[in-house]
Subunit: 259 residues, 2 copies
Amino acid sequence: MTDPSGETVVDIARLRRSCGACALSQLCLPATIGHEDMPKLEAAVRQHRPLDAGRTLFAEGSPFNELHVVRSGSLKTVSVQSDGTEQVLGFHLPGDVVGLDAVAEGQHRCTAMTLERTTVCDIPFNAIEDVARRVPGLQRQLYRVISREFVRDQEHLATMGRKQAPERLAIFLKSLSDRRRALGLEPLELTLSMSRSDIGNYLGLVIETVSRLFSRFQDEGLLTVQRRALRILDYDALARLAAGMNDATEGSRQRSPLR
Amino acid sequence: MTDPSGETVVDIARLRRSCGACALSQLCLPATIGHEDMPKLEAAVRQHRPLDAGRTLFAEGSPFNELHVVRSGSLKTVSVQSDGTEQVLGFHLPGDVVGLDAVAEGQHRCTAMTLERTTVCDIPFNAIEDVARRVPGLQRQLYRVISREFVRDQEHLATMGRKQAPERLAIFLKSLSDRRRALGLEPLELTLSMSRSDIGNYLGLVIETVSRLFSRFQDEGLLTVQRRALRILDYDALARLAAGMNDATEGSRQRSPLR
DNA sequence: GCGCTGGCTTGATCAGGGTCAATCCACGGC
DNA sequence: GCCGTGGATTGACCCTGATCAAGCCAGCGC
């Protein structure tokens, strides 16, 4: 939530740079574009100034105009259910594209909210369609990025259906760590930008269960956590737990979820 | 699973027809294409002969070449988890597109299997990309169809996270009914093409719970079900239950899931 | 007819995790 | 300094739905 020391400064410096120089270019849309086509893409992309924590990037029901790419910071997407409760659909880190849900109906099906000070690139959908038509590599990459989000949702679906609470939290934490590694960031030490309540909501657990599990993981030497600061002590054990093999954890009672 | 009387005959007759004449054209890719561009699309689409129940359309890990549109019948998509258990990701009815998960990595992330005698159209992805580049309407419609699947997954996610077992089954049955209505089919009387086990797996419930809930819904006069034959008697009550207001159902104990 | 098989139903029991409630802790205002 | 607030933690209790187990029913081979 706070922006400790240098990280933000670096981002501000990057703001003036192009897609070609962007640290995320391998994950983001320019990935497979040749040098000659880069200016066409860059013409379509708009940069934003950083948003403070808790700001709404787009709201459920609002008209769809552009896709957004997270450049630094993080977002959550939430949707309000018919019974009035909120559902956290996902957390979005640098390199992620948000706004795809809106393409079908022309209006957003969820609300995107910053969890900390966050910078995004805005890409008007019309513009990207035009450029994509002329640059086949971009077209393909756009499909790929969309599909990536799709796969991530399906993995989350499997988590929600089959897994016990401890596995769910382990999967979540492992995924956070893995995504940080993919971004070239320290994977074992991180600041949770979302509240316990967001985590619980996302995983289909109540806040008390999340809290208890953090304490238990800590007792078992998997990690240390104080408020938002998380340090993973035993990544392998966390990964094993996430994979469903709750080994040393609690004796040997192997329990296959849903037979 | 069986093909009772005339329905299949009609489908065979349709097989020879074009996208333009297809009953699904409003839901499928041709939706927003002008007459002049239709032949370009049709050139890319291949028709298949009907597949029997239990056949694999594509398997997890196999290379990605084409998208598939369900024309008649139904499919399920399943993915094998790290612990070896299967997860049913979705059921796909006429008009649905399957295979999108594979665009990101170039190989399928799930297996698609027919639940009954089923006809699909195959669309090589290369071909559709080419045509889409020259026909902006198709391009946009392709995005829309992709996004539609995306939204459906997100809705299912919310179901798995927040809802109690009875709500989950009610949501599932209501959705089946609604999708039939959208296809112009009788919405209140239908044959479940998937087993109890598939339903339970999809909803994150064990088979016994699904069975008990069917019995309970029957006792409450919501529906009748014998084997695969389902008749919805009180759609509104089912819809209320799906929306989280378990009214008459069991007295008045209002229980908000997850606060 | 008979028995087998596989899918489905129903009952009894148990525990994972939700609910309720008290407390703690960090932070900010005054 | 003091208190208020909101997020987080911990404990006691109990309900929903999973587990274990027995039976039912339809279809099929012989």
